[in-house]
């Protein structure tokens, strides 16, 4: 695929990519931007090459996920070497960045309590409208494993939401995706 053609496709997927990057970066906007920019850089440098073996979206999401993981590792090393705790700053940034409703905040907190794989599966299925097999491809796991993460994640999220006291009866903002799950 030509770079100009790829650029156009990436632009179409940009919003979804940023949402996924946010999820991979625990809703930290700065980190998500950094990750997405690194992904674009990798594509430009030819370090990440789309060979058409899968859907562009699943390939891109897999690259974003890997990049986010490596960035997180780098951050961890940096935080180990410096005493400054950046966590508080990022939380403050989060709060000031956008005004989130109380319910959304609780939902985010409940989501953050989940193990990474479960959170990722739920995000890919419910947020990105991917099927379980596509989610499995993005996460580089088997479909069976993705299904397990999905079921366990749902259960744990439900329990966490119950604990947080989140009201489920929210209005629909998006079209329901009934065919997302296999």
């Amino acid at each position: 695929m030509e770079i100009s053609e790829l650029k156009a496709e990436l632009e179409k997927l940009h919003t979804a990519s940023f949402g996924w990057a946010l999820s991979c970066c625990r809703q930290n906007r700065g980190d998500a931007e950094e990750v997405l920019q690194t992904v674009y850089l990798k594509i430009l440098q030819g370090k990440a090459v789309f060979r058409g073996e899968s859907k562009l979206q699943t390939w891109l999401f897999a690259v974003i996920r890997k990049t986010a993981i490596s960035e997180r590792r780098k951050q961890l090393l940096r935080s180990l070497s410096s005493i400054v705790n950046t966590g508080a700053g990022s939380n403050a940034e989060l709060e000031s960045d956008f005004e989130r409703s109380e319910m959304q905040r609780r939902f985010q907190e409940a989501l953050a309590q989940l193990p990474a794989r479960q959170r990722e599966t739920l995000h890919l299925v419910f947020y990105q409208d991917l099927s379980l097999s596509e989610a499995a491809e993005v996460m580089n796991v088997s479909v069976g494993s993705a299904r397990r993460h999905y079921e366990r994640g749902k259960k744990r999220l439900r329990e966490a939401l119950d604990r947080e006291g989140v009201d489920y009866g929210v209005g629909w903002r998006r079209k329901e995706n009934s065919g997302a799950v296999l």
Binding site: L36, K154, V170, R173
Partner: protein, 172 residues
């Protein structure tokens, strides 16, 4: 698979989140341009670095080759030395060149080995078998040299004259 009640509710929360995230999405062009700028910057930086690294590798390889050649020929200035007819000791006179400790050790070890080989060679050349003296005969001296001309005649004449005098005296 149909979504159950809980799933619908979870999806609603995710939809809410997606809606909120949409307002935070940075412009694609902005990120793409920054990535492009980084790429060109990185390329500009990597080119001199690559040249430097290749130069260093070449220099290291060259010095390694020189070093191996230097160590494999211990008397590198032997071309300047007299031909090999000179004595063993003369050939190994210490050179006033400043050498590294490892090289000095190597040369000393080599000299020691050469010296021991020369001593052994001298001993071997002087060696005689124990039976050699038993094989030697008393006539070896006479047989080993040529007789002088008329020596035997002279000896006989002197012997005969002495004998005739003795006989005469005895007869008297």
């Amino acid at each position: 698979m149909e979504l159950g009640g809980d799933e619908k509710r979870i999806q609603a929360l995710f939809s809410e989140l997606s809606f909120e995230n949409q307002s935070r999405v940075p412009q694609f062009g902005q990120l793409w341009t920054r990535a492009q700028a980084k790429e060109t910057g990185a390329a500009r930086l990597t080119r001199p670095v690559a040249v430097l690294v290749s130069l260093l590798i070449t220099a290291a390889a060259g010095s390694l080759v020189v070093w191996t050649w230097y160590t494999s020929t211990p008397n590198s200035n032997s071309v300047m030395q007299p031909p090999p007819t000179v004595t063993f000791e003369a050939r190994h006179t210490p050179t006033p060149i400043k050498l590294e400790p490892s090289r000095k050790k190597h040369i000393a070890r080599r000299r020691h080995a050469d010296r021991s080989i020369a001593t052994e060679a001298a001993l071997l050349s002087n060696w005689q078998s124990p039976t050699q003296q038993f094989m030697a005969s008393p006539t070896d001296l006479a047989l080993g040299s040529l007789p002088t001309l008329n020596q035997s005649v002279k000896d006989l004449e002197s012997f005969l004259s002495k004998n005739s005098e003795i006989m005469k005296e005895s007869n008297k």
